[in-house]
């Protein structure tokens, strides 16, 4: 494959490209779903292809195909240059890239058990046991268990002499119980909604999730929600647990800090960002308790790797320090425009997509609170857990989230259960209302394997490290 990449680079240079990146990506995935006692999905998929991205006449072009022969490499390289020339007919300034160190190496996600080598029977057997442990409650009509594993190998070379061979392993899964009565349905999930939690890891990660252990509680809570009162609307102090807080970080910090959005290159699709460049270093994003990094180096994060898809080494980039906004995530092009080094966040969805600025692991750093102490200090507040729905505006300011469950906090304990909770807010006001973050002991990584962006649409696998945190005087429920 090294020769194939070199051939693509040579052809592109001969055809007039001033910069070229070539990637061969081989992806193997397995996904399983067991539902109501039977496996309803057992899917293995493999895909492999070559993507060539070039700059010619100062503009970008990209072509991708599955023909991994010298002829295929030549065709992709020539097509990418032709497309770049077409792009140049609607260009103003030539594309500039921030400098990147020359890299050369091999990396594989640290793992104990190759998740693709575990027998199918064992995987389905684990899911069947976890799913079965949710059964037996008359109102729980749907019980599901999920497992997904992935191996993605990227062979990368660019015209600046960088090259690498990187293999990422991912693994994860979860369970969900749905209770149904009179047209109403209530879901409880574990360890997170929408098919569970995911990490860059081997199969050992899945076996530590404890799905079978948690299954009876999950089913019980789903059934209990049917009889629970609707969460009352009003302004409340809330503590948000990890899974929901991860999505809060994702939507109201992770996306607004994408420098390509800030520069308007996603304007016609996902939107822009309120976080314009004059705010860098001076904008108060949140309270002093809010410290956030973009860290592609943290072990097991779903956004963890060694090099990004432009060959830039993984970094830990400060984003918010004591509430003050201090950094973006960027690729080489957007970083050059700002005059800073790339944040190493250029990531693509497979061989047939270009790298975009994507989240790595956007982590809210732990504070010092014990969760029990925080509950005891939040009498009359609400504890909100597990995302159910999300929506945020095109500049990432006005958001509304729904969670699977809310519990009233009384006397330091979780009390009355409420169904259909939601909360809404304005991004900087909301993070400004954060006055406590739990400590290291409660800090946990959540993986989001379905972050959408770009045209054609791409799905990124990103991570968020969080600990439960408290927010004061938040609008819970819908204003009437």
């Amino acid at each position: 494959m090294k020769e194939l990449l070199d051939h693509a680079l040579d052809v592109a240079r001969s055809a007039g490209a001033s910069h070229t990146e070539a990637r061969v990506v081989s992806l193997a995935k397995e996904s399983y779903e067991v539902k109501n006692g039977a496996p309803v999905a057992a899917l293995h998929s493999t895909t492999e292809g070559l993507g060539v991205r070039t700059i010619a006449n100062g503009a970008w072009g990209f072509a991708a195909l599955q023909d991994l022969t010298p002829g295929g490499a030549e065709r992709a390289a020539r097509q990418a240059v032709d497309i770049a020339r077409a792009s140049a007919t609607a260009a103003k300034e030539p594309v500039e890239l921030a400098p990147a160190p020359k890299v050369d190496g091999t990396y594989t996600t640290p793992h104990e058990v190759d998740p693709l080598a575990v027998p199918v029977e064992e995987k389905i057997g684990l899911l069947m046991r976890a799913e079965r442990a949710m059964q037996g409650r008359p109102k729980v009509k749907i019980t599901q268990a999920f497992l997904a594993v992935l191996r993605k190998q990227t062979l990368f070379a660019n015209s600046e002499g960088s090259r690498y061979d990187q293999t990422i392993y991912e693994c994860g899964g979860g369970i969900a119980a749905t209770a149904v009565r009179d047209g109403e349905s209530q879901v409880r999930s574990y360890p997170n909604s929408f098919r569970g939690n995911f990490a860059t890891a081997g199969f050992e990660y899945f076996t530590t999730l404890g799905l079978e252990r948690e299954a009876p509680r999950v089913a019980e809570e789903a059934e209990a929600l049917l009889s629970a009162p609707t969460c009352p609307a009003g302004r409340r102090d809330i503590i948000i647990e990890g899974g929901q807080l991860a999505l809060q970080v994702h939507e109201s910090i992770g996306h607004p800090i994408e420098l390509d959005r800030v520069f308007g290159t996603e304007a016609a699709y996902a939107g822009t960002s309120f976080l314009t460049t004059e705010k860098l270093g001076r904008f108060r994003y949140g309270s002093e308790h809010v410290n956030v990094v973009a860290d592609a180096t943290v072990p097991a994060g779903l956004g963890t790797f060694k090099w990004d898809d432009e060959g830039v080494p993984a970094r830990r980039v400060p984003i918010i320090e004591h509430g003050v906004f201090v950094g973006y995530i960027s690729d080489r092009e957007s970083a050059a425009r700002l005059g800073v080094p790339s944040a190493g966040a250029a990531r693509s969805d497979g061989w047939d997509n270009i790298p975009l600025v994507r989240m790595t692991n956007i982590n809210l750093l732990p504070g010092r609170w014990e969760l029990d102490d925080l509950l005891a200090d939040t009498d009359g507040g609400l504890y909100l857990a597990t995302n159910r729905s999300w929506s945020i505006d095109d500049m990432r300011v006005n958001f509304q989230f729904g969670t699977e469950v809310a519990c009233e906090i009384k006397g330091g304990k979780l009390g009355q259960l409420y169904k259909n909770p939601s909360y809404t807010g304005i991004t900087p006001e909301f993070w400004g209302s954060c006055d406590a973050v739990c400590g290291e002991k409660h800090w946990k990584l959540f993986g989001t394997p379905n972050c959408g962006k770009g045209e054609p649409g791409q799905s990124a696998h990103v991570g968020h490290g969080v600990a439960p945190a408290r927010f004061r005087n938040v609008q819970v429920g819908v204003v009437r």
Binding site: E33, P39, H44, T46, G49, I83, F263, D352, V479
Partner: protein
């Protein structure tokens, strides 16, 4: 892209390989095609991509056990390896008592629209159209963003029960956003042929919306009469289909229209069919299981008439699949393929003129389900929100968040637009709705 003969030959190889691997039965789907997308922002082309490829989906069946492999290694060895793997998965999987088996379907007459000019569109063709769009919007004092895509795709399905299907289509997608400060206007087009695209007309539409949205004023959330332009209606109808029309949701007791067949659920001016063969949408002859797509009356004069089936949900209800299945394994069940909402008799101007005080909504943004059983969705308005006062568009206002039950909205229809627009697989008119609930506001 593979033609019919090539595609079906390849599927025959895959089915033979599955049988040789010890399967009782199998079905296979081949996707083949190419696509290209030219993306622009800040008045330049900033991303410009093309890709081509083929993917085989092979489902192996052993009794009530199934295993599915997706692969793009389509050599003889690659196909044999996929078949062996699928058979191994099926052998290892537990039984699914509800698996209906592989069924034979009659060959469907192809109805996809395939246009050679669109299939062969060059990067220069797309760039010329984009330059025209940028030129118009720049000249109007705004900034242009968007994308223009062209694609040609074929799908073939075959199974060991004798099903043999092939169809192909081309598609064009145009999305234009004109922006001036925080004001923005949008125009879109979904079509089968490039010749259907009037890029300049679309650019001018987006520009007019943008310029009309400048200096947006404050408005408080609350309940308003709304005139929803087709883009907003399309988003709402697509959520309704997801939450209400699939047989799996019905069988699980989760449909927002549970037990409503034969009942009046919406205003009598609302009629919705799913008809994947109607050329007004994006016609295609069969579904992911090779079952010919059927026209299904979902809502007729406000009364619920039907649901969408795949083979599994149909078998459970003793019905026939309506041709709305996905490519196996598809645990999410049947889905809509072409939602057509009947037009009414009102023009957009008449809807506005008949409104004392209300809002004209151009688009929704980032809509999501807030509560399933009432089909309550939440999202933001985008690309132009205008206050209507005494029958006239009085002023642009800043975007609002809505949280609204679709069921309640469609039962409170005051007028239906006479013309329809296509957004992806939905073809819809504008709607005027008596009360629509806005629950938050933004600063732009």
């Amino acid at each position: 892209m593979k033609n019919r003969e090539e595609a079906l030959d390849l599927l025959e190889k895959a089915l033979s390989a599955a049988t040789a691997a010890g399967c009782d039965a199998a079905d296979a789907v081949l996707f083949s095609g190419s696509s290209a997308l030219t993306r622009f922002a800040n008045d330049i082309i900033h991303q410009n991509v093309a890709r081509e490829g083929e993917t085989l989906s092979l489902r192996a069946v052993r009794g009530k056990r199934t295993g599915v492999v997706h692969t793009d290694v389509l050599t003889d060895a690659g196909i044999a390896s996929a078949a062996k793997r699928a058979a191994e998965i099926a052998a290892s999987a537990a039984e699914d008592p509800e698996f209906p088996g592989i069924i034979a379907s009659p060959t469907a007459e192809p109805c996809g629209i395939f246009d050679e000019e669109t299939a062969g569109a060059s990067p220069e063709t797309r760039a010329r159209a984009v330059c025209e769009i940028i030129g118009r919007i720049e000249a109007g004092g705004a900034i242009a963003s968007g994308s223009l895509s062209t694609a040609a795709r074929s799908i073939a399905v075959a199974n060991t029960a004798g099903t043999c299907q092939f169809d192909r289509k081309t598609s064009v997608g145009l999305n234009i956003v004109a922006m001036a400060d925080t004001a923005a206007g949008c125009a879109r087009l979904s079509a089968a042929r490039l010749s259907e695209m009037d890029a300049v007309e679309r650019a001018e539409f987006a520009l007019r919306k943008c310029l009309g949205s400048r200096d947006a004023g404050e408005i408080e959330p609350g309940e308003y009469t709304v005139v929803l332009e087709p883009a907003a209606v399309a988003a709402m109808i697509q959520f309704l289909a997801r939450l209400g029309f699939g047989a799996l949701a019905m069988q699980q007791g989760q449909s927002c229209l549970q037990g409503k067949i034969g009942e009046k659920v919406f205003d009598e001016r609302i009629s919705i069919v799913d008809d994947a063969r109607d050329p007004v949408g994006s016609p295609f002859a069969f579904d992911g299981e090779g079952v010919p797509t059927r026209r299904v009356e979902l809502i007729t004069d406000g009364v619920m008439r039907g649901v969408l089936y795949d083979t599994k949900t149909a078998a459970k209800d003793g019905a026939a699949s309506t041709g709305h299945g996905g490519v196996p394994p598809n645990p999410s069940g049947p889905h809509s393929s072409s939602l057509l909402v009947s037009p009414g008799n009102a023009t957009l101007d008449e809807m506005i003129a008949s409104t004392g005080r209300g809002l004209l909504v151009s688009n929704f943004h980032y809509t999501n389900v807030a509560e399933r059983s009432t089909a309550t969705i939440t999202g933001m308005t985008r690309y132009g929100l205008f206050e209507i006062v005494d029958g006239e568009v009085a002023r642009p206002v800043k975007n609002l968040r809505f949280t609204q039950s679709i069921l309640a909205a469609l039962d409170d229809v005051e007028a239906v637009g006479a013309t329809r627009e296509r957004f992806g697989s939905a073809v819809v008119p504008a709607l005027k709705i008596g009360r629509f609930r806005f629950t938050g506001k933004s600063d732009h």
